[in-house]
Symmetry: C2
Subunit: 493 residues, 2 copies
């Protein structure tokens, strides 16, 4: 009886998961393959898929199956599956369909307005629709929070069981050390950048090679070009995208390695979990820990930079840099800049803290969306020491808020913190790591991550996966120690 | 009240159509982009989409809405939409879900067995599963026929209201004239073929140019490579594929023009019909009429061949042929061969007649599937005058029967017949056509087809579209006259 109910629920869920994969691939297609003239029709197609998925997630039979099973003796895998399905069912049922539809409608408009406003550096043109988005998301957050903290409820969507209070404590530990380091580093002479000619085809060929070096499985994936790099899909069809900049080949290489980290997480999940709720990365923070550790702790290490230096000389000839040490400094340059996505390891988390505080204030009603630009610019100057010249370099730089992603930004920093913990544990388990990385061998490191983190998919809760992998409760210490040691070395502090 | 019911039905249908487009794009992805290792998961995704679509097509509300509307006074467009929805609803409800699932299961297995058997030239390895497919399709046909003729019911799936008796009469008129022409042509010396070097990139570039020449709208489509060329999608996202053969550039060029014909039909439909039952080509026969007239009556005309001759010389240099007349003969070579998809205009329909008679006999129970190879070889030798050396050149050459497509083959010939009628009418309406084609201008001809045929989508019944476009009831006469005149000219008969 229990078994029949469980089978019925999991069969139904498998179809839902398969449909979610289809919807995800439709988004991939939209960013990579879709002809321009198909945008309107694609909107209808996406809406139809969303409506099918929403109907399945709120299907009353799911509630009945869950009630029939909860309290039963279940193995840990089945119990974890049920936990995810319950979460998704409750979430979908808490938000009134009318509100969900209104959010979908308004955010699709506001994304367009954001893009236009950014192109014109005109925050005022974006402010009214941002106010609408904030109001709707607050309403949704209140429905999800059920009397609890609204921002925590939003956060829970991306990082289950994380709270703003914990993030506050974490950022409180990080802020002074990162600001001090930033000041010391920027007082030093700036390292040399690479120069030369970096044709697109050659960049793409080398980035594909790097993807292979980091263990990306091309039998179950592919790489295409897109305006913004992303990873998409789970199970045996996990695709990534990259982009090229003729003047800056690192943009292509490190975007690729970053997305390979995301993709290897998905590809590394136990195949038995495919098309179940355990068959995806467990949270945004844990996902970002994989992309970050591939990109930074491994990919931007002194040892791996040496390997990449050789590869680039082979492919591009003279790149204006003549020693591995100078090359290592070039891939880790710290510069005065405004853009989060291009920030180095020292400054990245400072960008996040700013967003975290401002979005919390908007959600709490302490900051009117119309006042965002002023608040952003004031805070930026306080944190970074120089003024934001225009909105596209300030509060209009990120798409997130325009599409209603509140509570998402801090998971980037959480990913960095998790990556710091994983890196500390991994280093102590693999004493010969640098010799391997210097030869372009990542197998032991990525194998360690697959075994400790990736293969579990959604089996454990986010913090539990990291804690068990590292043998310690996650905290910002290891990340801060690593960043300080690394950049003190590079900048001779 | 009528209006509310109609809106409810059409809104529901719009979502169904959008989901059908998504399922179609998933198939496109499978043939063009999907990583190899994703095949199993893709099977689950396709099955989930099919199950969603089947549930919508048989949704009892559709039946209620239809009953509430039938008998009402409706404008012709709404009436045509209702006619299509009724057809689809009745069809989906006539076939028991268990039988439909069994057909899906068996044909997915049998396609694999067919491919393996073809690779081994081993009909016996395919015969048992073919027998299963035939049995299941007969059961389905009987359910659809509702006491009527089973083969006609199958045919109706691809060509509404066409009957085997009519096709019999049509083929009876065609067979003697085509066989006589074939014999006369093959008694003449064989024209020279092109020779030279035809790099893939250059073939693809010229084929894209040809697509543009025939009016394919790249803003609402794209061209990719695939093993078998096809066209996919409706509305504002209609994609085609092509392939290259280093020794035979015509394969790429004429496959492309053929698929462009299919795609322009879809792209040419009145945009008001998008995501309604009128928003697709109305039948396989009418679809094939467009691909064939683009490929043959226009693309393989003396005038257009002259244009292509210049293009090819420009791109490839010396192609071993030095006059437009010899080039025209080369693109229209008639050769002793075995393969339908590579057949010329003279022999193509003879290949179809053979398949039509054999599949009817299997469906009627007059030919046991196990006896197919013998029957095929006997008939082929009778029609073509030489023996089939192995099954991959005979009864295993086409995928159709392995996936349960019975009643599909004759629509290819019907498309040729319709193309013949359209071509006759189009020639008489456009006296300067050859001058235009010689300059690579197809706009007036394709505009005529768009206006007379393509834009109507599913508004009229198949035969009605053709009859109104041509001002006469369709028949084989114009096609036969055209083929005889053309090949008598080329072969100096």
């Amino acid at each position: 009886m229990i078994n029949d109910t469980l089978s019925a629920l999991l069969d139904f869920q498998k179809e839902t998961e398969a449909l979610a994969q289809v919807a995800g691939r439709l988004s991939w297609d939209q960013e990579t393959m879709m002809p321009r003239g198909a945008a309107m029709q694609r909107g209808e197609e996406m809406a139809a898929m969303e409506s099918v998925l929403h109907a399945r997630r709120t299907d009353p039979r799911v509630g009945e199956w869950l009630s029939g099973l909860e309290g039963s003796e279940l193995d840990p895998v089945a119990a974890a599956k049920l936990r995810h399905i319950r979460r998704s069912f409750d979430r979908a049922n808490k938000v009134p369909a009318k509100l969900a539809a209104e959010i979908a409608r308004v955010t699709s408009v506001s994304q367009g307005k954001w893009a236009a406003a950014r192109a014109q550096d005109d925050f005022a043109a974006f402010a009214p629709v941002l106010a609408q988005v904030v109001a709707l998301k607050r309403e949704e957050g209140a429905a999800l929070a059920d009397g609890g903290d609204v921002y925590d409820a939003m956060l829970d969507d991306y990082e289950p069981e994380m709270t703003a209070a914990e993030l506050d404590a974490m950022f409180g530990e990080m802020r002074p050390r990162l600001r001090a380091l930033r000041e010391a580093v920027l007082a030093q002479p700036e390292p040399k950048a690479v120069t030369g000619s970096f044709p697109e085809e050659a960049q793409l060929a080398l980035s594909a090679k790097l993807a292979g070096v980091f263990g990306y499985d091309f039998e179950r994936g592919r790489i295409d070009k897109a305006v913004h790099p992303f990873s998409s899909g789970s199970g045996s069809d996990v695709r990534i995208t990259t982009r090229t900049n003729p003047a800056d080949p690192f943009n292509c290489f490190y975007s690729t390695i970053h997305e390979v980290g995301h993709a290897c997480y998905e590809q590394g999940i136990d195949p038995d979990y495919a098309l179940t709720p355990l068959g995806q990365g467990v949270s945004m923070g844990v996902h970002e820990s994989q992309s970050r550790i591939y990109e930074n702790q491994l990919g931007r290490s002194r040892a791996f930079a040496g390997f990449l230096f050789e590869q680039m000389q082979e492919v591009f000839g003279d790149i204006g840099i003549d020693s591995p040490e100078a090359f290592y400094a070039a891939v880790n340059r710290v510069q005065k800049d405004f853009i989060r996505t291009e920030a180095d390891e020292v400054q990245y988390n400072l960008h996040i803290m700013l967003r975290f505080d401002l979005e919390r204030a908007m959600v709490a009603g302490d900051l009117a969306p119309a006042e965002l630009e002023g608040a952003w610019n004031e805070r930026f100057e306080k944190d970074f020491g120089y003024a934001v010249p225009r909105a596209s370099l300030g509060c209009l730089q990120d798409v997130h808020w325009s599409v209603g992603l509140f509570g998402y930004f801090p998971t980037y920093s959480l990913g960095n913190v998790y990556a710091g913990c994983l890196h500390e544990a991994l280093r102590s388990d693999i004493p010969g790591l640098d010799d391997q990385l210097a030869r372009g061998e990542t197998g032991q490191a990525t194998g360690w991550l697959r075994e400790r983190v990736q293969r579990h998919g959604g089996l454990m809760k986010p913090r539990e996966v990291i804690a068990r992998a590292c043998g310690r409760e996650p905290g910002a210490g290891p990340l801060l120690d690593y960043i300080e040691a690394k950049f003190s070395g590079i900048y001779g502090l």
